[in-house]
């Protein structure tokens, strides 16, 4: 979109004379302290007098003084083109932002603003914004602002508000200096007086001067003879007389001379012509590199490597270098896209924008890949096979199996409700484990409390996007104890969005709650209604079948082959949950261990009905089915309340009160 600064156009190569001294001084001042001195700086002159050279020189000098400056050079046409392109792409704002971040804006050929009302207002807005931010603007035109036809008054006053300078036609001395410098650049040597003769001709601009010099260089190369001051006039068709006298036989004399001299001239002209064309053609690689630099820079990639190419005279395999660069950029894009998917925060890193740091980018991506842990999964301690099924939980288990058969399609969401200790967590994890068997399954299975904590940590670490991304990738979301969301508005908000997203994609959602969702307080209506939208399956107090199954499994796990009477006794004990049943069993087992005796129904009766109060050791927590349950607080089991009494005597006293 924008042009690169041509490295040839610097202050070092700019020949300063009386006609351009003011402009050059202003340019240098501006380059040394952008935004501070003349803002905007408006340079105007006729064609071919060095506006573009000076403009680019300001850019180079500013860049040299402060390499970090964001410098943008472009012609007005390019500016217009860029504007139209971004408007067409619906990115008008991005366009504005892009230019408002430029520290030094160099705009060439502003005169083309004529008849472009919308660009005028755009430029006015930009000028105001840049000036307000203390950023430098330098503009060039072929006439001063008021002379640009059809220019908005406000823009005229804006553009004239800084410094308006002109570059005049170079005087004789400057012309000689320019010719000498250019001849030197080309490695051409002329006899004394030759360049002076050329300089003496009245030329309108420097470009014409260069044209004359080109012909001399070509002529001298062709004829292998050096030109003297006299032959110059012939070659350039200046006629016999000095200075203005040459106007008399210009075209005619030249043609006649060519015809007479037998055409060394004709070939010379041809050669000069080819020289110019070849020069451009050979330099075409610069254009290609420049194009590549612009393209990738425009996309936000660092282009040092390509810029380095431009500094060299004639690098080999330019296209290979460009292709290699493009390849690296493609790789970076792929990495960035991958990382963005895993962790949007990390994708913004600058390494993904610098092909020189491709290896670092690879490492960063690998780190993200490793670091992007999947959301917490189900606990392996709760296999479905170990879940004791009986009439009391039949409904919930069949619902779970149905959900497993067609995840996300049948009961979505599935809400398991029931009091504490009935196996909701077990069933939830069991569903999770089964779902996780699927190919590419990412099952998020965790307690609501952990979910909330993770979100808080993510907010704290400023990586909510990453957190979201993690859960959005999940193929199933299972949350235990959904009622803990009560009062946590932000989490409810996040869950709400996540819920919708996952449900839209037919991903299974399972929740557990102590009671029917519509009885839970502190949950937003929209969450409740969504929870009710699937199936709410209740787990009831364990029936005898469940209890027996649980007891048998527990005892088998401990390598005990229990007598049927013990199982019957324990199963018949009034327990309102599996957890309390497990508690009973633990007490009996503990007592048996303390006595070093066998596990029997008698011992159980003794322990549980207090016939022989013994010191049954208790720890503050104990392991049931893999879950550490605190015995302190939060458990409303009748049996556990009893545990807290020290002995029967205390209990008696309590009852007598």
């Amino acid at each position: 979109m924008t042009s690169a600064l041509n490295p040839k156009y610097s202050f070092d190569t700019f020949v300063v004379g009386a006609a351009n001294r003011l402009a050059v001084t202003a340019g240098r001042t501006v380059a040394e302290s952008p935004g501070a001195a003349y803002n905007p700086l408006f340079i105007y002159s006729g064609s071919g007098l060095g506006k573009t050279h000076l403009l680019m020189a300001v850019g180079h000098a500013a860049k040299k003084a402060a390499p970090k400056l964001n410098i943008e050079y472009l012609t007005l046409d390019e500016y217009v083109e860029a504007f139209h392109a971004s408007v067409a792409a619906g990115q008008g704002d991005a366009f504005r932002r892009r230019f408002q971040n430029v520290d030094v804006l160099l705009v060439d050929d502003v005169q083309f603003l004529t008849n472009r009302k919308e660009m005028q207002s755009e430029l006015l807005r930009l000028t105001e914004a840049l000036q307000a931010a203390g950023r430098q603007i330098v503009l060039t035109s072929d006439c001063p602002p008021p002379d640009i036809a059809d220019l908005d008054e406000r823009l005229i006053s804006r553009l004239s508000g800084g410094l308006v300078v002109d570059i005049g036609t170079p005087d004789y001395e400057t012309r000689v200096a320019i010719l000498r410098r250019k001849a030197e650049e080309r490695g051409a040597r002329f006899e004394p007086g030759v360049l002076e003769t050329v300089a003496r001709t009245e030329v309108g601009n420097v470009r014409e001067l260069m044209g004359a010099l080109n012909r001399l260089v070509a002529f001298q190369a062709v004829n292998d003879t050096s030109i003297n001051a006299e032959t110059v006039k012939q070659i350039l068709g200046l006629g016999g007389g000095e200075g203005e006298g040459g106007a008399a036989p210009p075209g005619d004399g030249r043609a006649a001379a060519a015809a007479k001299s037998g055409g060394g001239d004709e070939f010379g002209e041809f050669l000069a012509d080819v020289t110019v064309t070849v020069g451009k053609a050979v330099e075409a690689w610069r254009a290609r590199v420049g194009e590549a630099v612009l393209r990738w820079e425009g996309e936000g990639y660092r282009t040092h490597r390509l810029e380095a190419l431009l500094q060299r005279d004639a690098p080999a395999a330019v296209d290979d270098a460009i292709a290699a660069f493009a390849g690296d950029v493609e790789r970076l894009k792929a990495l960035e896209a991958e990382v963005a998917d895993l962790d949007p925060q990390a994708a913004g890193q600058s390494v993904f924008r610098d092909p020189e740091r491709l290896r670092e980018a690879e490492e960063a991506a690998a780190k993200v890949r490793a670091g992007a842990a999947p959301p917490p999964g189900p606990s392996a301690a709760f296999p479905l096979a170990a879940f004791a099924v009986g009439p009391s939980n039949q409904v919930a288990v069949s619902a779970a199996r149905a959900a497993l058969e067609r995840p996300g399609k049948k009961y979505n969401p599935l809400v398991l409700v029931g009091k504490s200790g009935l196996g909701k967590t077990h069933l939830l994890n069991a569903i999770g484990l089964e779902l996780a068997r699927g190919k590419r399954a990412v099952v998020a299975c965790l307690s609501t409390q952990a979910f909330v904590d993770e979100l808080i940590a993510a907010i704290d670490g400023n990586r909510v996007d990453w957190w979201r991304g993690r859960y959005r990738r999940a193929t199933a979301l299972l949350l235990d104890d959904i009622h803990l969301l009560a009062g946590k508005e932000r989490t409810q908000e996040e869950l709400f969005n996540l819920f919708n997203l996952l449900q839209d994609k037919d991903r299974q959602l399972v929740f557990t709650a102590p009671a029917h969702p519509n009885t839970l307080s502190g949950l937003e209506e929209r969450i409740v209604s969504r929870l009710e939208g699937g199936l709410v399956a209740e787990l009831k107090e364990p029936d005898r079948d469940v209890k027996r199954a649980v007891l048998e499994r527990m005892l088998n796990q401990q390598g005990v082959n229990p007598e049927p009477a013990l199982i019957d006794y324990l199963a018949d004990r009034p327990t309102d949950s599996v957890r309390s049943l497990v508690g009973l069993l633990q007490r009996v087992v503990g007592a048996a261990a303390a006595q070093d005796g066998p596990l029997s129904a008698g011992l159980a009766r003794e322990v549980l009905e207090g016939q022989s109060a013994r010191d049954t050791r208790r720890s503050s927590g104990f392991r049931t089915s893999g879950l550490v349950v605190s015995s302190l607080g939060g458990i409303k089991s009748r049996e556990k309340v009893v545990w807290d009494w020290i002995d029967v005597a205390d209990r008696m006293i309590e009852e007598f009160r």
Binding site: E266, V274, T277, V278, A281, V282
Partner: protein
């Protein structure tokens, strides 16, 4: 054929003068030969019959010396114009970087011009080259003949230049338009070099 060799720093342009018999292709080359300094030109190879008709082809190498650090050579070829030498024409066209079509301005030669132009298109196609993509200029030669015998450049443009390529009126015998044509084709060839991928 690689036009620009960045490794050996050489530019070689092969330019073929094409056109119907007796249109003045060889004359073009002779005129150029006469204007190139001795040190710059190679031996002009010309295989002609006794009546000066080109039998095989003419070949004129020109060394333009170092240009922008590249040693630059032009190779100018002509093809035999007679219809029955088509195999030779096709051979000479191989690897051409640009073609100058030398047309005969005489009104009665118009059909020959058209036929030759079609022949050029089909021969290029044999080499897998689309006439629309190869640098091509037209030269309307013999514009020095009496007005009543010839078509004007504008008429010839209408009749032959339907692709809108650069065209030059010429009098090759006296050299008018010869170098203009050569410049025209050189510019096209070199510009294509600039646009194309030169490695």
């Amino acid at each position: 054929m690689s036009l620009v060799n960045f490794t050996t720093r050489e530019i070689t342009c092969k330019i073929v003068y094409y056109g119907p018999g007796r249109s003045g292709k060889t004359t073009n080359l002779h005129y150029i030969y006469g204007r190139v300094p001795d040190s710059r030109r190679g031996r002009m190879v010309s295989l002609a019959t006794q009546t000066d008709r080109t039998l095989f082809f003419d070949f004129l190498p020109i060394d333009l010396g170092q240009i922008s650090g590249f040693s630059t050579r032009f190779q100018l070829y002509t093809v035999p114009g007679q219809v029955y030498y088509n195999a030779t024409r096709r051979l000479v066209l191989q690897g051409a970087d640009g073609v100058v079509f030398v047309g005969d301005s005489q009104a009665r030669q118009l059909d020959e011009n058209l036929e030759s132009l079609q022949n050029l298109q089909s021969n290029l196609l044999e080499h897998g080259v689309d006439i629309r993509t190869i640098p091509l200029v037209l030269q309307y030669n013999k514009q020095d003949l009496p007005r009543e015998l010839i078509l004007s450049p504008a008429d010839l443009d209408d009749a032959l230049n339907f692709r809108g390529v650069p065209s030059f009126s010429a009098d090759a015998l006296h050299g008018k338009g010869v170098f203009e044509t050569l410049k025209g084709i050189s510019e096209l060839v070199l510009k294509k070099l600039a646009a194309g991928t030169a490695a």
